[in-house]
Amino acid sequence: MLTEHAKIMKAFMAAGEIVGRKKLQKMIYIAKKLQFPFYEKFDFHFYGPYSEELTWRIEELCNLGFLNEVKEKKGGYVQYRYTLTEAGEQFLSHYDIELPHLQDCLQDMNGQHSRFLELVSTVLYFEHLSKEEVKEKVFSLKSKQRYTEEEFEEAYAYIDKLRGYVHSRS
């Protein structure tokens, strides 16, 4: 019961503070693509894979006092910071959720820029296509981000690195 809520809180416990909704969305999506059992549904939006369901879940957890949300004005937009509260930790204690290596993956992702995670998540979204087709997709759908060939290659290397954490599970 409410296991999906608890898993999201577990992600916060593993990652520590997460700054920015875009970053949060991409981190959970990437974790899902790494086969961690997050079942929020994602589809392709303006900044790549995005889950309405995840947005709602986060808002709900904030309303319940399990997550703390701090709004900061940043020039032309608002940035959000999220941390797990004490009440959230207490709630989580009702659950026995083991997600080996989630912490390694999420902490690593948390250290990356959201722009890069947007690229990584977009590459993963199209991973069923050939590398050339993925590149074409990234450069056409993300033309405003002006990603370079070098960043594109880095994204692939980064995915391998994350998969390395997961595979060390066995």
Binding site: R21, W56, V78, H94
Partner: protein, 433 residues
């Protein structure tokens, strides 16, 4: 490239209670409607278990798909044609994507997706791209045409204006389902002036915008959406049916995994149970098939499966109380879980928290860090203004969240005091607060 046969010699029409008529002139649309994958949508209800609450809600995804097609056809042929930013060579692509956008929906999609971790959108893509009648029709337009249609539906097509017609905060999909669901459920709050909205839509480079003079019609549409979500889509009785349906699927899967011998073998479910569903298996599923199993499983030896199926078939639904997952309430839930076990009622199937956010949702809110494209008004001076900055009404409901959790349980079991009387009394005391 043109479709062989181009246009039909005479326009075909389908009588429709929402749009009066659905007009088909293009042969490709006529051929797509005739495919077996599209005809399958007749056997899948648009609103799943809602018919158990609003008895009129028996309409299918077939009706809705035709409705979305008709709205797009009107926008393109009556409003966009000849306007700047509109590339008329995209017309057939838009019409096909509109018609096929829900093609991958299965029976009772919400519950099936939740239990078996499926995504109907993946099946939509597969039906369009793999070896199907739909794919064969689309390929007559050119080998890359199915891929383009799939991309529009997946929102990854390069022309964002085309994508926004089918999927945005004010799109043909939502306009049709609000009007259609309001009509069939019989509620009055889903109605808005769609004709007016269509007349004031204008194409822009990346999306559809609305002329400022049409703002009040859009306000009405947004309020309709809000009302429909809370009055119809999140109705607690519908959710009760959904909870039971979900639990039937869980139980059947669990029994299969434990090696239980079913009297009625769940052959249509095997690939779902093992998490390896191919397209051909998926296309065999429809509501008639699922309801057949539920009917049959009322005779199973397993008490839980038998009971849950009987509840669903005969509409003996669970009752509910409000539940807020605070730490205090969570403690009560733990206590109830133990008491249910003591009373011999398995809490895994008979004590269920359901959150409305697990159901379809998308009432209006402006973009957050740009993730959701807001609705823009085209001002008389040619500027674009985000809707909630102009509309007091929309501003008032933007970003205002309502979440709803309910705790579902079978009150008939609990009021049966022939066994475990004291425990059941204690349970009722807690539930009734």
């Amino acid at each position: 490239m043109a479709y062989p046969g181009g246009q039909l010699s005479e326009e075909k029409v389908f009588k429709d209670p929402v749009h009066r008529y659905i007009h088909v002139r293009d042969k490709i649309i006529w051929d797509l409607i005739g495919t077996k994958e599209f005809q399958r949508l007749r056997r899948i209800k648009q609103l799943g278990t809602t018919y158990l609450t609003f008895h009129g809600a028996e309409h299918s995804r077939f009706n809705h798909s035709l409705g979305v097609y008709e709205i797009i056809r009107r926008i393109i042929d009556d409003v966009f044609v000849g306007r700047e930013h509109w590339d008329h060579s995209e017309r057939l692509l838009c019409l096909c994507a509109a018609l096929l956008h829900d093609l991958g929906h299965g029976p009772f999609s919400h519950s099936f997706e939740k239990v078996f971790h499926l995504d109907h959108e993946n099946f939509t893509q597969a039906i369009i791209l793999e070896d199907t009648e739909v794919n064969a029709v689309l390929r007559r337009m050119g080998n890359d045409f199915p891929k383009k249609v799939a991309e529009v539906i997946a929102k990854t097509y390069q022309n964002k204006l085309v994508v926004s017609l089918i999927s945005s905060q004010i799109d043909a999909d939502r306009m049709d389902y609000l009007l259609r669901d309001a009509y069939y459920t019989g509620v009055s709050y889903g109605n808005f002036d769609m004709e007016r909205i269509l007349r004031v839509m204008r194409p822009r480079e990346d999306q559809v915008v609305i002329k400022r003079s049409g703002m009040h019609a859009v306000e009405d549409y947004i309020m309709s959406r809000y009302q429909m979500y809370w009055q119809v889509y999140f109705h607690p009785v519908t959710r009760s049916a959904e909870v039971i349906l979900t639990k039937i699927l869980h139980r059947a899967k669990k029994l299969y995994e434990s090696g239980y011998t079913f009297q009625t073998k769940p052959v249509h479910f095997y690939s779902l149970f093992v998490g390896n569903v191919n397209l051909q298996d998926y296309l065999k599923l429809d509501e008639a098939v699922i309801l057949y199993y539920f009917q049959q499983w009322q005779e199973e030896k397993d008490e839980i499966l038998r009971d849950l199926c009987s509840r669903f078939v005969h509409r003996r639904l669970f009752k509910y109380v409000e539940f807020s997952p605070t730490n205090e309430q969570m403690k009560k839930l733990m206590e109830l879980t133990l008491l249910f076990k003591k009373a011999g009622i398995d809490p895994e199937y008979y004590l269920v928290v359901d959150s409305s956010s697990d159901l379809p949702y998308d009432f209006y809110r402006p973009g957050e860090e740009g993730e959701r494209l807001p609705i823009y008004l085209l001002m008389p001076n040619g500027e674009l203004r985000e809707l909630s900055r102009e509309s007091v009404l929309v501003d008032a409901i933007s970003g205002k969240r309502r979440t709803d959790h309910k705790l579902y349980f079978p009150d008939d079991f609990l009021y049966d005091f022939s066994t475990k009387r004291a425990t059941k009394k204690k349970i009722m005391e807690i539930l009734e607060g």
